[in-house]
Symmetry: C2
Subunit: 435 residues, 2 copies
């Protein structure tokens, strides 16, 4: 780059500008060459005539090369703006492409090949929009929590003991011992509350040695973590997440609302009303009324879809909190309560469902050491390996609660993507470690 | 918590308030008990008299328990505000403490024991200030780059091939194959530029199986990554980092400037002038004039300290860019240039030094595939394992450059900490994986 660059979306007719980007198409005619240039803000047609000394250079440019073009922006007879080229510099000439990047035929590239050549398929405006959306929602998430006085923390991903469960754990040799990759920041973020940091959040990778090949699983993903101390009730946790989601959606709309509309058909995706709260007991009734049942104490995937359908129709909300989860289907560190409707033991927690699937589990945690040890035993866990965690509860632990939510799953649901892997910069699965 | 909580720093004399926090000290007299409560914003003395029905409860409260106290804020005769307790609720009673958390004797807790009981030592205002500073500088870093139109990315930490070098690499079994933990996001963030995302940043963990036991190494740390495409020259990279650093310092000052002053004696730490730029050739001359020499082509740790001393004295800057690094001491993917002073081959790069040590290396990258392959061979590297990376340069790669900077090292230098591990929520080293 030799000159100050103008982004394509900012070009005004009548200006002399320098732009730079990838070549989307080259159309050679006898007296003129049309080059469509693409940068991160959009595309524009550039034109060079036969009389121009660089005409032959322009003719020879390959698709997806990187050019710097200086010229005049003029309004075309049919409307729209094009650049009349004064000078063109080839910053990087592209070889013959291994796959079709844009244009007709690009949609036939298989999912696996698209992953192999991810840096090429990401050049498509649709795929770039997904990456911008991911960036925007993490920005919105942080803004919401920083404004509420939260501190950002960075908990270790290398652990000396397994975190929540021994299943689906990556482990490695560590200076003669064994280290595990964190499956969750759960125990550490609660430690931050014990450490007096009061309200903390983290955005970080999470690892699961999960052999599933579904459209909503990955072995590495980015989790939006939160833990808040000194809560008056579990309601505060639900309210704080709700506020964060409102910020995330607004941030996406501001960052790339028009691209989201263009490529995913979403014209309005703000949080317009309070997220409805439905107890598990009531959710089961709703499902039964819709003819969807299961023998599970919590909701089956089909039941999750049914409840969401009901809520969208009856309450005009794409989100719903399912509260009063049965105690048996929740981990030992949740606070135990009693259902207001059935009188049975529940965990003081909720699942947030979004367009048919679970986004995250929110819970109040048990803060009393003795009760926690009891619950640990009740769930059949041994205290030894967890003692370092349980110790955090012995020397003054505020009441607290929080959640951990997959960012890519949020983006998948927001944009209606067929698979989680489209929401990742580079997908990681059981058979995918490259590029 | 039953009532709306007021943070201690926000208490106004004359108000009735509810506060909550850890008990810093309990002082029992015959007719009165004084309790000092600490929350994340500060400490305040609370007082309860013998006539109060909860007097006996107050007497029995252990240090570091978590209390909720409602009372009236009144100005004391000697100045300052205290709370006259109306009611006190024990939210969590602390057992006998394993170490002294605050007060006299706390400073004698050894570094290793402090790490063992990290959630207790973090309750010290000084240590909490370090965590707030870390949160603030990452916030400032993001703000600077988001405002300049950068996109936040999340690159994988699980890799199918070693990233930069085969040394100091963590590896693990991965579904019958082998995965490596990312030692840097270098190759991936350049891939993001090739993918048309233009300007990207990332804040993420980085892993090094480094057996060093120094005060500035850890096996896991948080790196502030950046890669910017379409640069006109390397100057733009230095200017962008400089702007980010100004934001980081301002953000720390806003978030916890007074605590930083109190505990680390820093009254003013804004970036007041442009960061001076000194060539390696000139830096070596300066060192020689100061009687500090080495046989290295780049700077030894002693020379780094000497240059910083010189710059601080002569140019009133705690930061300095050392430019024109000799080509032999840089990796293959840097752009090669010629020194303006010595005519010798250099890498188009700089090291940013801060108060005597290197914070980060910034560089323009080589974007031409053929040149890059040549440089790869020149440095004795085999192309095979890197082909997935080199492929990014074959189909249109904009000119670009960037850096990766350790966040904890920045905080260590800013606050003048004796060791990097104090800047980590939980330190990870060769013999430290717990808690």
């Amino acid at each position: 780059m030799k000159k100050v660059r103008t982004h394509i979306a900012k070009i005004q007719s009548g200006e002399k500008v320098t732009i730079a980007g990838h070549v989307q198409t080259v159309r050679v005619q006898s007296a003129v060459v049309f080059i469509i240039i693409r940068d991160i803000t959009g595309t524009i047609q550039c034109v060079i005539e036969k009389t121009h000394p660089q005409f032959e250079i322009a003719k020879s440019i390959s698709v997806e090369s990187v050019l710097e073009i200086t010229g005049s922006a003029v309004t075309m007879p049919g409307g729209g703006v094009e650049i009349q080229i004064e000078s063109v510099t080839v910053l990087s000439m592209a070889e013959q492409l291994p796959i079709q990047v844009t244009g007709r035929g690009a949609e036939t590239v298989s999912s696996e090949v698209a992953q192999d050549w991810r840096f090429l398929t990401l050049r498509r405006e649709r795929d770039a929009t997904i990456m911008k959306t991911l960036s925007a929602i993490t920005t919105g998430y942080r803004e919401a929590l920083l404004q509420s006085g939260f501190t950002e923390i960075f908990t270790p991903k290398l652990m000396g003991t397994p975190s929540e469960s021994h299943a689906e754990l990556f482990k490695m040799e560590y200076f003669g011992g064994t280290a595990y990759l964190a499956q969750s920041a759960q125990l550490y973020k609660q430690m931050a509350v014990a450490a007096g940091l009061e309200r903390v959040f983290e955005i970080s990778p999470t690892f699961r040695a999960d052999p599933s090949f579904t459209t909503r699983h990955a072995t590495e993903f980015i989790t939006l973590e939160c833990e808040m101390g000194y809560i008056g009730s579990f309601d505060e946790v639900m309210e704080t997440l709700e506020r964060a989601i409102a910020y995330m959606l607004t941030s996406a709309r501001k960052a790339c609302g028009s691209e989201i509309r263009k490529h995913f058909g979403l014209s309005d995706f703000q949080l317009k009303r309070q997220i409805p709260r439905i107890t598990m007991h009531r959710a089961k009734q709703i499902c039964a009324e819709m003819g969807v049942t299961s023998d599970r104490a919590d909701l089956s995937p089909a039941e999750e879809r049914a409840v969401c359908e009901y809520v969208e129709k009856e309450m005009e909300s794409e989100f719903v909190y399912i509260t009063e989860y049965p105690w048996e289907s929740r981990p030992f560190y949740h606070k135990k309560g009693i259902s207001s409707e059935t009188g049975k033991p529940i965990s003081v927690s909720a699942d947030l469902l979004y367009k048919g699937i679970e986004l995250t589990t929110l819970a109040q945690r048990e803060e009393c050491y003795e009760t926690l040890c009891k619950q640990c035993a009740e769930k059949g866990l041994k205290q030894e390996g967890l003692q370092w965690y349980l110790d955090c509860f012995r020397f003054g632990m505020p009441p607290h609660g929080g959640w951990g939510m997959g960012s890519e799953r949020f983006v998948k649901q927001l944009l209606g993507l067929p698979s989680l892997r489209e929401a990742q910069f580079l997908f990681r699965g059981p058979s995918r470690l490259m590029p």
